[in-house]
Amino acid sequence: MPLSAFALTDKLPFCVSSLAYAPLGIHSFGLLYPVLTIFFITASSVVVTYVCAKAYARERLLGVLFLGCGALVFGWSSLITALLFGSSGIPAAASVLAPGALLSGLFHLACAMSTRLGFGARISKGYHAPLWLSVAALSVVLIAAASLLGLAPTFYSSSAGATAVGDVTLVAAVLEFGCSSALEYSAFQASGSRVLFWYTASLLATTIGLAGVLLSGGQTVSVAMRLGWVALFVGGVLLLLSVVWAERLSGGQLAGDRAPGLSTAFIISGRPQG
């Protein structure tokens, strides 16, 4: 069965639920935090980025490209945050998470505007995918380097907690993800596409997650912080579900020598159902 591994992701929400208690002691779990981040956020972002790059190569939709960039930035900045959290402390981790979320939110907002408002909906040719994805990856590297070298602004102070810069950056990121979620929900209502539904849910969960981190004031033991991270994990799973749904639309029912996944109606009308 094509992409049968994706079927496992059906169970992921239940896994997330069962792991919801893990963040309650996440700071003392050593490698658990990075492992959870890799499993729920980074792995999902890698799959989504790859699918978006392929989708862009075929259909030249700028929105899909921005979505891939946003997933890439958030997935990897979350992973670096998780790794720095254990090794370099909260200030270094915060200086990666906040700008990473801000940049990722910007990409998701561009995607939502492109999808709903038709901004730069389709471009004819060019090598935008490698360029934009490289820019996104380079941004993550620069953010991490700035954090490690101490060149980044102070987003979190060990003595005073979250700084104004950190708060403003996170508020901006929350607004970006929130607006993106609203726009994508509008697009979902217009199209009825379940792919957009899961993507919208993912953006909403990420918004809630970042809001939780913001409200915690950087206190890792606070409930808001822990629930925020659970929401971010759920967001990663939901983002993956949007791809899984696309896979089901395209390939779940048909296999073999027929064009896999293209229903007869799709062949004739050019439109998959759902």
Binding site: K54, E59, G63, V64, T115, V195, S250, G261
Partner: protein, 144 residues
Amino acid sequence: MLEESIVEGLRYVLGESGLQVVLRQRPLQVLASDPTEFHEALTSIFKEAGAAIIEKEIARRLLDKAGTKEDQLHRSWLSTVIIRAGAARRVSQAEKKALRQYVALADLPRAHGAEVSSSRHGMGMAKSIELTSLAFADAFKKGS
């Protein structure tokens, strides 16, 4: 005239890249000289229904070039199809789009070059990812 019609018809329906994909499977001279071979080449990619759409378009063009002199034609499938093509509408955008999806699939193994010898499972996975990405993009197109 037949070769011209085949090239023009394939290019109109499938685009330049689609034309090249079909011609990579069978040379134009083979396609033009052996209608059975041509039909098989098309059905191997587009199945019976898709092949009929393309053949109608080619036949329609051939009919335009040849007028209504059916006695000029000695091809079994052409003689059948061309009669239908006389009244046939042009290939719609939706049909073109759907058939180009097939071209994308047909082109996949070649796109991977050295991986042509990879297992059927691997090719199935590649096709599945390709189709997933198409369905994913389609969702965003519908949202606008």
